[in-house]
Point group: C2
Chain length 126, copies 2
């Protein structure tokens, strides 16, 4: 994409959509990790790019939100929950926020992808 | 799928995820249609199957919610809104709810697909 084309697209391509009921997230060993607070949805393609996990009450602190590339979650349809193979300590060191959600733009998506070692994707391609 | 297999899967495969900011929806002629209230997300694939439109204040009645197959919305990245080619009267006659959201299961998804003349999809396949 030329710099001119990227300059004209100021629109935020991802939108946060909040899950009302708590969707549980467990580790592979069956330990409680947290819950899905929201999905980041690509407005154009309608694809969920990230799940925003809520890891609450850790060490007495308030809730924090951790965006995780959706490909790293596996849905268990029988138990109606997600399983992640990622270590909780790795999650806790990852990109997150407590009160003010970041602008979830290309740069932030790249940062999340880089942290979790997954390929970064060009949001402009859908 | 055998009837035994379908009997074991009681899990709701779609989950509603609410959009906080109002995403506008317009007709092709640029008329205001409503806004995107929520997305129905397929838990397994992370695909948005439907946008739930809010068509508020029509004839003095309260807000109602109209699920539309996502494929019928076109995202305008420059103006940051969705365009639908569907006539507003067709929408208003479609499946909808005001207070109590239906269980958005295969039967309901089939009903929506049938109303809008799009192919019905097997949710169990993702």
């Amino acid at each position: 994409m030329s710099s001119e084309a990227s300059a004209t697209v100021q629109t935020q391509l991802l939108i946060q959509a909040s899950v009302s009921g708590a969707m549980k997230v467990e580790s592979r060993d069956g330990d409680h990790v947290g819950s899905v607070h929201a999905f980041m949805v690509h407005k154009g393609s309608g694809r969920v790019t990230h799940a925003v996990l809520s890891l609450g009450g850790f060490l007495g602190m308030g809730k924090s939100f951790y965006p995780l590339p959706f490909a790293l979650l596996q849905f268990d349809a029988v138990r109606d929950l997600y399983v992640v193979t990622i270590d909780r300590r790795l999650l806790e060191g990852g990109p997150s926020w407590a009160n003010n959600a970041p602008g979830f733009d290309q740069a932030y998506a790249d940062r999340v992808a880089s942290y979790y070692g997954v390929g970064s994707e060009n949001l402009a391609n859908g």
